[in-house]
Symmetry: C2
Subunit: 331 residues, 2 copies
DNA sequence: TTGTATGCGTTATCAC
DNA sequence: GTGATAACGCATACAA
C-alpha cells in the first residue's frame, strides 16, 4: 500500500507538492500536476484519510442512530438527512442500536473519539442528563423522537395535535366509544399521543374510559392482541385509534377475524403512514409525518452546529397531515 | 478537548504510562494506574481514535452496503452480521447506497482510504471486474445478492432450487397454468429464480408460455400491475409465482379486486418471507431464506480475511425453506 | 511554483 | 515500572 511519500519519491517531487495536487490547491504548475497525477495512477495510490482527518481534525462523516433498521418509518427520514449531507460534502453512516442503551453508547464513542463530526439521534435511549452533557461537547440533534428536558436541539411534529386530529376525525363521523392502542414506554411521542386522544374526547364531552385503553409494542402482533382485547369487552368500541400503523393493521385483522366489517362495524386510524398503510385492506386512515423534511431539517441543524453557526431556535416543529382512507370512511 | 499529553502532564507521568493505562497493558503499578485514571476522569479525557487508528493501521470498523434501508429483507441479515462482529470486537456501520453506483463508490472510498477494515456487499452495483479488483486489495464479501464472475467470496442460497421448489409446490397441488412475476434487472438471483421456474415446468411436462411472464420492480404496486396483466389474459393462470413477497401481495390484491378468491381461484407464492408475509390476507406461501445465518456467515468470512486466515472456500450456500401458508392451500 | 520542517494524537520500541 | 522518542500519513506555515 503506497503512501504519499512513495508518490513523491517516484515522481521526484516533495510530499507537499503531491498533497497540493491531491487537494487541488492552486500554485502547482500544469506539468508537475500532470506528472504527479500519472504517478498516483501508476502506483495505485489511495490517500489514507486517517492521516488527513487527524491533521485536519475533521472527518466529514455524520452518524445517524436508529433504534431499528426494519422499521419502515425511518427510511425516508434517513433519505432526507442523507440528501442534505451529500449536498454539503458530508457522508452519512447508519448505526443500528436495536434500542439497546449499550449499543447506543458504543456508537456514541465514535463521536466522542473524533471518528465522526456529528450525530443525529432518531430515538435516544440514554437519559436527558447524559444527552445534555454530550450536546455540550459535541454536535448532536434529536430527530422525531426526543427526550424531554434534554438541552439538545430537536426536530419533531406536534404529536398531541396529530392524535387530537385523528380522534376528532373519528368523533366527526359519529363515533363516541373510541378505543386507544398505545404503548408502555417512556417516549414523549407516546405520552403526547395519549394526551391528544384524551383532549379530543374531553373537548367533545366524551368521558374517558380506561377500559378502552390497551397496550402494544408498535408491532402487528401486539396490535392484533390489543384489538382482540378491545373487541371482546362488553360495550365494545366502534372505533380504534392506534399510535402506530402496524398496530392499527393488527387491530383490523382482529376485527376481520371476528367477522366485523371495517369501517362499517369498526373504524380504525393509525399513525405514521408507513408504505403498507396504503397497501393493506382496507387502506388505512393515518397521520402522515413529513418524514423527508424532518430528516432534512435535522441534518441542516446539525451542519449549522458543526460549522459553528449560531442557530436561532432549539426546536423546529413541522406540520403533520391526516390521510383519510377507507378504514374510517367507506367510499 | 484534552489530549493524552494533557493527562500526562496533569498526572505528572509520561504519555507512555497514560497510554499503558488506557490499553490495560500490564507493567504499571497500581498507584500510578489509579492516579492516571483519576486524572483522565478529571480532565474528561477521550482518546482520539484517529491517532490510534493511524498508528495501529486498523479501525475495527466494518461497513455493510445496503441497496435500501426500507427493504425489510435486510434487517435480519444485518442483525446476524452485527452479532458476529460485536462478538469479535468490531463495530458495524450501515451504508445506504439506494442502488446508486455513485453512492456505492463513495462508500467504497471509505474502505480504500483505510477508514474501515472490511466491507460486505448486500447487493453490489459495480461490475465484476471492479469488484474483483477491490477484493484483491481489501477484505470484502458478497452476501445474498452477488455478481457472477466476480472473484469475491460470497454467501448465498440456491435461488434456482428455491424457485424450483416453489413452482413444484404449485404443480403438486394441481396447477398447470402458472404465471411468473419477475423483474428486469441484472441480478443473479433474478436469473436463477426464472431458471428454477422454467425447470419446474419442464420437469413436469408443462410448456413454457411467455405470455405468462410479467415484470415488476419488487414493490407492491408493480406486483399489483403485473397481477392485473396476468389475470386479464384470455386463458388466465390459476397460480402465480412472484420473485418477491411485496409483488406477490400486490398480485393477491389484483385478484381480490377482480373478485377472485385466493387460493380457490388463484394461488400465489412469494419469495423472501418478509414479516408482512404472515400478516397479509391470506398469509403468503413463500420461500424463507436463513437471513440471520447468512449475515453471520458473511461476517465470519470477512473477519477471517481481515485476520489473514486462509479460507477454504469462496462460496457458502445455505439452505432455504418453503413456508406453506393459506395463499396456496386453504386449511 | 516548490521544498523543508513541524505537528496532529496515539502506540510501541528501546532504554534505564 | 517508567520515560524519552520515533514512527503512523498527511496538510500546512514558512522559506526559498
Amino acid at each position: 500500500m503506497s503512501t504519499i511519500q512513495d508518490v513523491a519519491k517516484a515522481a521526484g517531487v516533495s510530499v507537499a507538492t503531491v498533497s497540493r495536487v491531491i487537494n487541488n490547491s492552486r500554485s502547482v504548475s500544469a506539468e508537475t500536476r500532470e506528472l504527479v497525477l500519472e504517478t498516483i495512477k501508476k502506483l495505485n495510490y489511495q490517500p489514507n484519510l486517517l492521516g488527513r482527518n487527524l491533521r485536519r481534525a475533521e472527518t466529514r462523516l455524520i452518524l445517524i442512530l436508529l433504534p431499528s433498521i426494519s422499521n419502515p418509518f425511518y427510511a425516508k427520514l434517513v433519505k432526507g438527512a442523507e440528501d442534505v449531507a451529500h449536498k454539503n460534502g458530508y457522508n452519512v453512516m447508519l448505526c443500528n442500536t436495536d434500542s439497546d442503551i449499550n449499543r447506543e453508547r458504543m456508537y456514541l464513542e465514535h463521536l466522542k473519539n473524533r471518528l465522526a463530526d456529528g450525530l443525529i439521534f432518531m430515538s435516544p435511549e440514554i437519559d436527558k442528563d447524559e444527552l445534555t452533557s454530550i450536546s455540550k461537547r459535541f454536535p448532536v440533534v434529536q430527530c422525531s423522537e426526543y427526550k424531554e428536558g434534554a438541552d439538545v436541539p430537536r426536530i419533531r411534529i406536534d404529536n398531541m395535535a396529530a392524535a387530537y386530529k385523528a380522534v376528532k376525525h373519528l368523533i366527526g363521523i359519529g363515533h363516541r366509544r373510541i378505543g386507544l392502542i398505545s404503548a408502555k414506554n417512556e417516549y414523549v411521542s407516546t405520552k403526547q399521543r395519549e394526551l391528544g386522544y384524551r383532549k379530543a374526547l374531553e373537548d367533545s364531552g366524551i368521558d374517558f374510559d380506561s377500559a378502552l385503553v390497551k397496550y402494544g409494542n408498535y408491532g402487528f402482533r401486539s396490535g392484533l392482541r390489543a384489538g382482540n382485547q378491545l373487541l371482546s369487552i362488553d360495550n365494545r368500541p366502534t372505533a380504534i385509534f392506534a399510535i402506530s400503523d402496524s398496530m392499527a393493521i393488527g387491530a383490523i385483522r382482529a376485527a376481520k377475524e371476528r367477522g366485523l366489517k371495517v369501517p362499517a362495524d369498526i373504524a380504525v386510524v393509525g399513525f405514521d403512514d408507513i408504505s403498507f398503510a396504503s397497501m393493506c385492506e382496507p387502506p388505512l386512515t393515518t397521520i402522515s409525518q413529513p418524514k423527508y423534511d424532518l430528516g432534512c431539517a435535522a441534518m441542516e441543524m446539525l451542519l449549522a452546529q458543526i460549522q459553528g453557526k449560531p442557530f436561532e431556535t432549539d426546536e423546529i416543529v413541522l406540520e403533520h397531515e391526516l390521510i383519510i382512507r377507507q378504514s374510517t370512511i367507506d367510499c
